[in-house]
């Protein structure tokens, strides 16, 4: 009996820890600029606009309903729902609530994709993410 309780407690704890924040209904994330297929010139910074509808922006660590912060993924895939977003050169975090940025990329073809993270940098369930776009730097 006691074992059963303990097991139940563990399940509850694990369940609580892994429960992803549900995505706000109607949340729509998109890259406002550049456009898919855009050719940009190398040697000058590329401005990227983060578009978000039916959801708000909040810095990391801020718990506020229906908000999250932007992450820009470069030449990589999204991690899926309820997963901590890595923090490296391919996963740029915008934990101060930024809604645009400038990046520099080497010549060639690159993919860009936005994904929202909750106050703990976890993706939502379902993941709030933009279409993955391809740009060419030359």
């Amino acid at each position: 009996m006691r074992t059963l309780f303990a097991a139940a407690a563990i399940v509850t704890i694990l369940g609580g820890a892994s429960a992803a924040t549900p995505a706000p209904s109607g949340a729509y994330l998109y890259i406002g600029w550049p456009n898919d297929g855009q050719v940009v010139s190398s040697g000058k910074p590329i401005r990227v606009w983060f578009g978000l509808r039916n959801m708000g922006v909040a810095p990391k660590g801020v718990k506020f309903p229906n908000t999250g912060h932007h992450h820009l993924l470069i030449d990589t895939d999204t991690p899926g729902p309820g997963v901590e977003i890595p923090n490296d050169r391919q996963h740029l975090h915008f934990g101060t609530g930024e809604t645009e940025t400038t990046i520099e990329l080497p010549p060639g073809t690159h993919t860009l994709q936005l994904v929202m993270g909750d106050e703990q940098h976890l993706t939502f369930d379902p993941s709030v993410q933009s279409k993955k776009i391809t740009i060419t730097v030359r």
């Binding site: 978000l52 708000g56 922006v57 506020f64 908000t67 101060t96 609530g97």
Partner: protein, 139 residues
């Protein structure tokens, strides 16, 4: 005498408090309209896209440096007193949930739109972060 000085000092302190309460903004902070642009003729229902540079967006009540939330001023001038919270009415729309886009409906005719960023207490920053006032025509 001593009491008078203390009273005067407290009065001076109190008078200066609203000024102290304003959150500083970076000199290069810039709020602007991504869409619509100045002079545009638009449909009566449209999405306003609010752009912000060199600062971040945070919901109301969030005490983090260099952040604020958007306010959309419709057919109205900037508040005269920037030490007070931005009014909340049909001419001053608050986006206290950190929204960066908003669906707006306006009657036909010419309208002005202007963005004003404000801090956790809805008080504009120092210096105020204000967009250009644009004019749109709803057909």
């Amino acid at each position: 005498m001593r009491k008078t000085i203390v009273t005067m000092l407290s009065a001076a302190l109190l008078a200066s408090l609203p000024v102290l309460a304003r959150s500083p903004a970076p000199q290069n902070a810039q709020v602007y309209f991504i869409w619509p642009s100045d002079g545009m003729v638009i449909h009566h229902a449209f999405w306003v896209r609010m752009g912000l540079r060199n600062m971040g967006v945070a919901p109301k009540g969030t005490d983090i440096a260099n952040t604020g939330h958007h306010h959309l001023l419709i057919d109205v001038d900037l508040p005269e007193n920037m030490n007070e919270p931005v009014a909340s009415d049909r001419n001053h729309l608050h986006f206290g949930a950190g929204e960066t886009e908003a669906r707006i409906e306006l009657p036909p005719g010419r309208h002005t739109l202007q963005l004003l960023l404000a801090d956790k207490d809805h008080i504009p920053h120092d210096p105020p972060v204000v967009s250009k006032k644009i004019t749109v025509t709803v057909k």
